[in-house]
């Protein structure tokens, strides 16, 4: 964004004449983070990757030697039609959730930029509360809200809207309806981050530009599509990238809802499937690698695009 960050494009020679020493200094700045990540994050990740080529389960954890099995874990997984079903589900779930979250997030952000202070703060506080509440706690509440016997959702539908069939209705026993509930919860939790980021981006759009456009008679819709959207495009792309990554890995919400009484096999996504392989560690590792490859495939084009436009 040329408007806000001219500094970024500078070459370090401009800033720092003593080039060589500074070069080393740059790496010095990176060292603490790089070492910490390399050790405490990189090591387990590499180990997981290595183990994915071994036979490594509970017995190996208790001291038996791990045998190399080559690509066996990968072929086992990729020849299992069930794994493909779960991959398909996860992709669909991820795309739907990311899209819904983005749409609602954008709508909220635009709304926030067009309303008075009092109502804006009300909405912001509500979003912050949703974002900040411990997941374990909010999941328990959501579970109650959709509970078939005592849930408020069923009570309201049957007693307020007169849909008597909904009394005792189970929301999570059918996969589609399960994913609907999961989407509601995931979107509820994700929208705050998206809405705040995009709202922040909107604030960054120079007021003069908007006023000038308005004086020139551009309608608000025109202003939105022709000025606002292009200007916040970097935010949109990054937030969406993160959303796709996070929604593809979704675990806690699905896990808790499954324990609430859903048919597990019919509702597994990749996150819960990996967790269920915890005692066959090598399969979990192989599946994690497969997930990484899929995520890269889903987002690769996008990342390349961002690299080209120098947004990274």
């Amino acid at each position: 964004m040329a408007a806000t960050a001219p500094a970024l494009q500078q070459d370090d020679t401009v800033v720092f004449p003593r080039r060589r020493r500074r070069k080393l200094g740059v790496y010095g700045l990176l060292v603490p983070a790089a070492v910490l990540m390399g050790v405490a994050l990189g090591y387990p990740l590499v180990r997981q990757f290595v183990i994915s080529f071994q036979e490594y389960g509970l017995r190996q954890q208790f001291g038996q030697p791990a045998e190399w099995v080559g690509l066996k874990n990968y072929t086992d997984l990729l020849t299992d039609p069930y794994v493909w079903t779960v991959i398909g589900r996860s992709i669909a779930f991820c795309l739907v959730n990311a899209a819904v979250t983005m749409l609602i997030g954008i709508a909220f952000a635009v709304l926030m930029s067009r309303i008075g202070t009092a109502s804006r703060i009300t909405l912001q506080v509500a979003l912050l509360l949703a974002w900040g509440t411990p997941v374990l706690a909010s999941m328990t509440v959501w579970q109650w809200l959709f509970d078939s016997q005592y849930g408020v959702v069923n009570w309201v539908l049957s007693n307020v809207f007169g849909l008597e069939d909904m009394a005792g209705h189970s929301w999570i026993i059918e996969p589609l309806s399960f994913y609907f509930v999961a989407t509601v919860i995931v979107v509820w939790m994700s929208v705050p981050f998206v809405a705040f980021s995009i709202y922040a981006g909107l604030l960054q759009v120079p007021e003069e530009t908007m006023e000038a456009a308005q004086l020139d008679g551009a309608s608000s819709r025109q202003r939105f599509w022709n000025i606002t959207i292009p200007m916040i495009r970097p935010v949109l792309s990054i937030v969406m990238l993160l959303q796709v990554i996070w929604d593809f890995k979704v675990f806690t919400q699905i896990y808790v809802l499954q324990r609430a009484g859903a048919p597990t096999r019919e509702t597994n996504l990749l996150g819960t499937l990996i967790y269920s392989y915890a005692s066959e560690f090598s399969l979990a590792g192989a599946l994690a690698t497969i997930m990484l490859v899929i995520t890269l495939a889903l987002t690769g084009f996008y990342i390349r695009q961002m690299l080209k436009e120098d947004e990274l």
């Binding site: 806000t4 749409l103 997941v135 005592y150 993160l242 990749l270």
Partner: protein, 307 residues
């Protein structure tokens, strides 16, 4: 999604360009309409806020209810005649305070370490061009794509090797490493957003390079640090899977583990107490949030724009 896929007009759309576009509406009319529109939009916002906050309301409402009013065919919408005994039981529970201390210690260590290291790294990637820069940025992006659910065994064995199991330092180490990628990612936008000219002006005025940095640039980065801090706070405060295996000593439990223990502590779970516990766990997060709210919103500005 479409906003991104559709090739948008050049971002540098200048007022001049826009002036060329067709005039459709007089700005006077637009303003009158926008005032009315603003009010009705405000109502919409409040309605949405109520919808969004309802689950949280339900948590607090339940925390005031005795067990026999919680699971009934007709829900109790307002805690009329409610009880404070659920809250009292949590507050009188020494294990709650012990877990609170552990969680706070972990969060503080994680925030300080992650913000400091991420800040330095962000400085490097946003102020300098160097060999490996794009590689580094790509790596921290890709790392976030790997699911963490199967990692806990390796992480445990690693901490065990360093004798860091059941230690705040051990848990903090892994948490810090886990949130660093996103934190660097977020902070680099903020750093890039502070014009280097400001700092140079300070140096021209006779400040040393370090002094210029701390007097001029650093204050401008505060919102960014706050925004990244909120993210780190939430991650470290809520994490369960790894804490479960690392903190096995009951005296070293974090709050999520304590909450899980509360669910099980009696053969019949007292959900009112669990909800009171949940609400109390949420309070530090929410206080932190509200406290930094303004800074964060402006902070997310810069960060978001440069991503």
């Amino acid at each position: 999604m479409s906003a991104v896929d559709v090739p948008a007009p050049a971002p540098q759309a200048t007022p001049q360009e826009i002036r060329l576009r067709k005039v459709t509406k007089s700005s006077e009319a637009g303003r009158a309409q926008s005032k009315r529109g603003r009010r009705s939009l405000g109502v919409v916002a409040v309605v949405l806020a109520v919808m969004w906050v309802f689950p949280i309301y339900w948590m607090i409402n339940s925390a005031f209810l005795p067990l026999n009013k919680l699971q009934t065919p007709d829900p109790t919408f307002f805690p009329v005649g409610g009880t404070l005994s659920n809250f009292r039981r949590v507050l009188d529970d020494p294990t709650f305070w012990a877990a609170m201390r552990v969680s706070l210690a972990v969060v503080i260590v994680v925030l300080v370490a992650a913000l400091l290291f991420a800040f330095l790294a962000a400085l490097a990637v946003s102020r300098f061009r160097f060999r490996g820069r794009k590689g580094f940025i790509l790596t921290i992006l890709v790392v976030q794509m790997i699911p963490a659910e199967g990692l806990f065994i390796s992480q445990y064995q690693m901490l065990d090797g360093w004798n860091l199991v059941n230690k705040i330092a051990g848990l903090s180490l892994v948490y810090t490493a886990a949130i660093l990628p996103f934190t660097i990612w977020m902070l680099r936008g903020f750093v890039a957003g502070v014009p280097i000219e400001l700092e140079e002006a300070g140096m021209v005025d006779g400040l040393s390079r370090t002094a210029a940095f701390f007097r001029i640039t650093f204050p401008l980065l505060a919102p960014g640090l706050v925004a990244a801090g909120v993210y780190g706070f939430l991650q470290a405060w809520n994490e369960y899977t790894l804490a479960l295996v690392v903190m096995t000593d009951p005296a070293q439990r974090t709050l999520p583990l304590w909450l899980q223990g509360l669910v099980e502590s009696n053969r019949a779970t007292d959900w009112g107490v669990v909800m009171a516990g949940s609400a109390l766990i949420a309070i530090p997060v929410i206080v932190f949030f509200l406290f930094v709210q303004n800074k964060m919103t402006s902070g997310l500005v810069a960060g978001a724009v440069k991503g």
